[in-house]
Symmetry: C2
Subunit: 503 residues, 2 copies
């Protein structure tokens, strides 16, 4: 134990942290990244430790705002500091690092400490890497899923509940905006929670936000769904499976996505909203998360096996992910394309995919006979009932109940990219399309994005427009255009791909 | 790219970091823990990114002192921020995470980025965990060792150079303070660099510091050794193999010590000071780093194999690590015990171990015939030449050249623990001894520590003193005494180990 004088640091850093001079840290037997007990005459608490060689003098302890908001101190207050016993879960993470499987209680302990901010970044990294290295048994994935559900908010609708999820990686995948109203129009409950984009051009929550509010708490979501059968909201404010966001913050910079963790993360979100009938969209393609049909089959089988452990009815649809879904990418453009499809003016590929997935849920809910789901979904779409339901959902989420595709404003700055020669479109790059749309300002600038005139297999003539880029600001439009010239997002057979040396 | 207004944060955190509001981070396509390019009208640089939801408003960028000391800004300066291409080594770490061995250049790239502070904590954690999981081939350990040497200061004495290293985990291991003067007295160069304690009661540098200064730079070390043949200094100020300290900062909280990394770390320190003849002390025991003789043999073989790749002559001595070395633990007490031995008044176990290890070096240096090294070392010790050499080294390091064991002051507060019954000492716990010495104030309070009256195998009578604890302050003495009562550091056959219920 050492006694140090407090120095308040007016900075909120999102974790309960104190700062010690390296010498004082060594005196209590650590370098950094450990938990310490701190106590004054009247209070005590536990905090995470970092060290400095210069900001503090030996004998001082820096108290960040996250700590001093509850642990009241003045500059100069004498504080006792000693090593705290690390949370039990640190030992459990170490166990997993050494390749041993963990029990139900052990997963609960880790995930509980995670959501209570008791784990440091490097311990979270160790947990994720141990999952990546050693893998998880199906039993462990079950325990992990359960722990992720139990440490967050759950919603119970007291009746059967339907849901869909796309494994991701394909730009323009606005199928949720068709599936939810189709399924809800058939009278089934579908409380869809979605994410915002991190690296994509638009998350479903970003797209829906063009039409309505998406930030609701769990009670509000429940109320909306009980009244309209459907909703499309952002998952971030609900408090469901909060561990997921904390893990993503570390997975992202490490660029890993441990297989068992991915299964658990997806299923925990579905279980948290009480879904017991689920369809999973697994797009397959070079530039998506799942590269081959074999991988997709294995993933689908594991999803089914896992869902059986929770007594939920789950089916997976393996879909084509080799190019963007539909023709529009970016929040407003995707909202517009979804409304066009609901108004009966959608491109075939978007309508086929959406009704196929919606049809699976309709069959599960016994509102369509086996084998008839897709046709029933198409009928609901053609009848205008899905559009009516979408407008109802938009209204309940605080948007304009009369919204039409024509009303959706896209960026007023635009530029067209032309085909440099005659030929067939042989490739449309998901990654390039996403980068160009983001350069144009998506997802933050809702009107930014792009429109693909032609997709794979179409024949184009020199001078035909291939892509229109939309932006809200000229600087962004120029950035996107320059990037598009460099990336060649659309390949035409016969086109010169590179000039060497570059011109 | 986003444009944000600077807000200076008067805090030095030891890494080049900027802080963004989460919304702005998402706009450039990241969550945190990524590298970003920042530029103002006149300057640009790269910094590591963390995010906040509350400390900044969207549109602001927090610039920590580590950055604004070079990248000059005022509050309100407009700064452009975009994602930077991550350092190449991030991709290489990922490769190792996925189990692929790395090349010589690839290890150099990782270690170079590490010492230039281009890697975040979680990336360092990923590197270490990948080493732990997948292991390293002997080739990889060679590359890693080379990279660690090449990214730091190296010293070249232009002649053969000797060194020793203890793998560690045993309290009271002051053999360096005997080996260095014995070897130097025989005319061989031995520039010994040592560490300070992190979790032990006294590192060799802490012990030597009782007698002399230990903080020197590489040029100073070279000068001392060229004049006296020997030195015992702290490694931290030399700049040799700086990667090691940066890795230890992450290994410590993760409580891992990847095998290949340990070999590389040790050997890189030896190579950095130009050692080409090395003896490694591998203590074996329940509470040391190496638990079994089999493990020790494997480690020894790997050390030898690795050293051959660098054309250095290395031998390992497997030693008994089941209890503390000698009878004294703590900086001043260990310095005192070492001087006692140099004065010819040492306990047999300390003298036997020290001369055995020193003898290996004497044989390597051809100042003793094969099989005669230990005896020659004992002769040097008995002749007083080692004491004379030690005083010379102490003098060159700025200490008192007339120092005697009697001059060493130990803590003036002390307490004795008595044997509770008659019997044989069956165990002395390394871990308990270390914890008690640290509770008494070691290593920071130099006089703190303890004296073991009896060790394994000795017969004691009820009421005999088992341990004397020394401290500089009564509060610390009481803490150590309370802990000793709880831990039972010395076990006597027939002793009651626990009372249940506790009294």
């Amino acid at each position: 134990m050492v006694k140090l004088r407090a120095k308040k640091i007016d900075l909120e850093i999102g974790k309960r942290m104190v700062l010690l001079h390296e010498q004082d840290a060594l005196e209590i037997g650590t370098l950094a990244h450990d938990w310490v007990k701190i106590s004054s005459k009247t209070q005590k608490t536990v905090a995470f430790l970092d060290t400095t060689k210069s900001y503090l003098n030996p004998g001082q302890i820096g108290i960040f705002k996250d700590v001093y908001e509850k642990f009241k101190v003045k500059d100069g207050t004498v504080i006792s500091v000693s090593l705290a016993r690390p949370p039990e879960s640190i030992e459990l993470i170490r166990k997993k690092v050494h390749g041993k499987p963990l029990s139900k209680d052990e997963y609960h302990s880790i995930i509980s400490d995670l959501v209570h901010h008791k784990l440091g970044d490097i311990q979270i990294a160790a947990f994720l890497l141990a999952e990546q290295f050693h893998g998880l048994t199906m039993e462990e994935i079950e325990y992990l899923t359960r722990a992720m559900v139990d440490t967050g908010t759950t919603i119970d609708f007291d009746r059967s509940c339907f849901d869909k999820h796309s494994v991701g990686g394909v730009p323009g995948n606005k199928v949720t905006l068709l599936i939810v109203p189709i399924v809800a129009a058939a009278g089934l409950l579908i409380p869809k929670t979605s994410s915002r984009a991190i690296t994509s051009a638009s998350g479903t929550a970003d797209t829906m936000e063009v039409l309505a509010n998406v930030e609701f708490d769990a009670a509000e979501l429940k109320e909306i769904v009980l009244r309209t059968s459907g909703a499309i909201v952002w998952g971030g404010k609900l408090g469901t499976a909060p561990a997921d966001d904390l893990l993503i913050r570390i997975e992202h910079p490490l660029n890993i996505d441990p297989y068992g963790q991915m299964l658990a993360s997806i299923l925990s979100k579905k279980l948290s909203v009480g879904a017991d009938h689920v369809v999973i969209d697994i797009p397959v393609g070079d530039e998506t998360k799942v590269k081959t049909i074999e991988e997709a089959r294995r993933l689908a089988q594991n999803f089914v096996e896992l869902s059986e452990r929770f007594k939920i009815h789950l089916q997976c649809g393996i879909t084509y992910g080799g190019q963007p879904v539909g023709h529009m990418v970016g929040p407003a453009l995707e909202a517009k394309e979804a409304l066009l499809a609901l108004e009966g003016k959608g491109h075939a590929s978007l309508v086929e995919k959406s009704t196929a997935l919606a049809g699976v849920l309709l069959e599960m809910g016994f509102v369509a006979q086996q084998g008839q789901g897709k046709q029933v979904a198409k009928d609901i779409l053609a009848s205008g009932k899905a559009l009516k339901k979408m407008r109802e959902i938009v209204e309940f989420q605080g948007g304009d109940p009369h919204v039409r595709s024509d009303d959706i404003k896209v960026g007023h700055k635009s530029v067209a990219l032309k085909a440099p020669c005659d030929g067939f479109v042989t490739n449309v790059s998901n990654a390039a399309i996403t980068r160009i749309a983001r350069a144009a300002g998506a997802p933050k600038e809702k009107g930014a994005g792009l429109l693909l005139r032609w997709k794979r297999g179409y024949k184009v003539k020199k001078g035909d427009t291939l892509i229109e880029i939309y932006a809200e600001r000229s600087t962004k439009l120029n950035e996107a255009r320059t990037l598009a010239m460099k990336l060649n997002p659309v390949t035409i057979e016969g086109m010169l791909l590179h000039m060497i040396p570059e011109i």
